[in-house]
């Protein structure tokens, strides 16, 4: 099995090869160095704060498809989206997640040796070949990524947004959109999800949970970190907050994926998005 974490440009940020194909996803997760670091609490870094649905969070997550465990570090799509906001969230999530599928299409067609496992002869050679191929792939992506259409679109969108905010500032109060959704956090990073400015009304919003008696690296810290990263309740609340979050400005977010007839004057955000895409 190959375990990868890639980004939108198909740059591979994590690679783990070598588990037998008979392993289920959960067994691979239990063996992967990434998840071992998650269990230790050394990954993901808790230095960023982002706000979803009025709550600020610190635990970053990966976008994954269905079939992975319901951990708080995985944002999975809803299995049966029945409300409009869940459908919107699913659409946006799979629009991003398709790049993970695309990585394997590109890898398998670009480096054909992965199609012929008998060329590897041994297991160490399989692992080393996959690593070397991934490194070559990353070097090529690093050179080529400035010409990718995603970066061009992003630059165009930023230009449009800059022009619009320059014209009438304070226009969009949506939580996402421009890069201010992510804030570098200087507060104490003691293995807790909930940040300080959270509404303290719900009982879980406790920032200094065990900060004093569990310094980093101790067994208690690791236990807390693992529990926090693999919490099922947190997973569902994350999905709920994401669905609420993308609903706020679904017009501009969904615009690239819609094929609407050119009626004109649907909304300003839609026409702006069309300008970006053109």
């Amino acid at each position: 099995m190959i375990e990868t974490v890639c980004d939108e440009d198909l740059y591979i940020w994590h690679l783990f090869v070598g588990c037998p194909g008979a392993y289920s996803d959960k067994n691979v997760l239990a063996a992967s160095p990434l998840m071992l670091d998650v269990n230790d609490g050394t990954w993901p870094p808790m230095i960023y704060k982002y706000t979803l649905n009025g709550r600020s969070r610190r635990l970053l997550f990966y976008a994954a498809d269905q079939g992975y465990p319901r951990y708080a570090i995985f944002a999975k799509p809803y299995s049966k989206p029945d409300t409009p906001r869940r459908k919107v969230y699913n659409r946006l999530q799979e629009a991003l997640r398709k790049n993970a599928e695309r990585l394997y299409a590109v890898w398998w067609s670009r480096w054909f040796i992965t199609k012929y496992p008998e060329r590897y002869m041994t297991l160490p050679r399989l692992i080393k070949t996959a690593k070397a191929v991934a490194i070559l792939h990353n070097m090529a992506v690093e050179y080529l990524r400035h010409g990718f259409i995603a970066s061009k679109r992003m630059a165009a969108a930023a230009a449009v947004r800059g022009a619009r905010s320059g014209r009438q500032d304070g226009d969009d109060q949506g939580a996402s959109g421009d890069g201010t959704a992510i804030v570098k956090d200087d507060g104490p990073t003691c293995g807790s999800v909930w940040g300080a400015p959270v509404p303290d009304s719900d009982g879980r919003g406790n920032d200094h949970r065990g900060c004093e008696d569990a310094p980093m690296g101790t067994a208690r810290y690791m236990q807390m970190a693992e529990k926090e990263a693999k919490d099922t309740q947190e997973h569902f609340s994350l999905l709920h907050d994401l669905a609420e979050h993308v609903r706020a400005d679904r017009g501009s977010l969904l615009a690239p994926y819609l094929r609407l007839p050119d009626v004109g004057g649907l909304s300003e955000g839609l026409s702006r998005a069309e300008d970006v895409l053109r």
């Binding site: 099995m1 190959i2 375990e3 990868t4 974490v5 890639c6 980004d7 939108e8 591979i12 940020w13 994590h14 194909g21 996803d25 691979v28 990954w43 993901p44 960023y48 982002y50 706000t51 990966y62 976008a63 992975y68 944002a75 946006l92 999530q93 991003l96 398709k98 993970a100 599928e101 990585l103 394997y104 670009r110 480096w111 040796i113 992965t114 199609k115 060329r119 050679r125 080393k128 070949t129 690593k131 070397a132 191929v133 991934a134 490194i135 070559l136 990353n138 070097m139 090529a140 690093e142 050179y143 992003m154 996402s176 959109g177 890069g179 992510i182 994401l242 979050h245 993308v246 994926y257």
Partner: protein, 220 residues
């Protein structure tokens, strides 16, 4: 006459001494490594001599096709270059420049005074194995390298790349890169998403997948 006999004796003595020296060294080596190694390659009695491959022909063909020799432009342009090596030309140049002066890769001269394969042949053969999934003896026609040489240099290229670049190109994102990723994903509606996670079985690529529907982009 006496001198001839003495010469013969001297030669026999030298040969016997060299052989005993060799066997001693081999025994010592096998003792030191804890196991008896089978001797691989090299010339020895009963071994078939090396085939007279024209190494220059392979190097000349690669240089003519993709780089241009004698002031002429290359036969293939930029896009075929990327199709052949699966790398853009600057990336390939970077790889080749760092590899071509390694002692295992540079062109050597063997005991008979004949120049051996050029570094570009070895890199090209190994990259063709990676890119096309070629069998090792398939590169013989174009790169003029034998089967075991291609195998060896594929392995060496793997080790070279991993030793040199695995800390640079196969690592977790640092704070700056993570911030870039988070910003981009926030612009697409998922703030806090730091990557796309996927497990994939290695052997599914051989199986024909049904109608192409799985992920086809925006039209749906």
């Amino acid at each position: 006459m006496d001198d001839d006999v003495a010469d013969d004796d001297l030669q026999v003595a030298v040969v016997l001494g060299a052989r005993s020296n060799l066997s001693t060294r081999r025994t010592l080596l096998s003792v030191r490594e804890g196991r008896v190694r089978k001797r691989v390659g090299g010339s020895r009695p009963g071994h078939r001599p090396n085939r007279p491959r024209d190494f220059d022909l392979g190097a000349h063909a690669i240089l003519r096709d993709l780089f241009g020799v004698d002031g002429e432009p290359p036969v293939h342009g930029e896009d075929p270059f990327e199709e052949r090596f699966r790398l853009p030309r600057p990336v390939f140049n970077r790889l080749f420049r760092s590899i071509c002066n390694e002692p295992a890769w540079r062109q050597t001269i063997n005991a008979t005074g004949r120049p051996q394969a050029h570094a570009i042949q070895k890199v090209a053969a190994a990259l063709r194995v990676f890119g096309y999934g070629e069998p090792f003896d398939r590169a013989d026609e174009y790169c003029r390298l034998s089967r075991c040489t291609t195998d060896l240099y594929t392995r060496r290229l793997t080790h070279f790349i991993i030793d040199k670049w695995s800390l640079t190109y196969l690592r977790r994102p640092n704070a700056e890169e993570l911030e870039h990723i988070l910003t981009r994903n926030a612009a697409r509606g998922l703030p806090g998403c730091m990557g796309l996670y996927r497990l994939y079985p290695l052997d599914v690529g051989q199986v024909p997948k049904g109608p192409r529907r799985a992920v086809q982009g925006p039209q749906r």
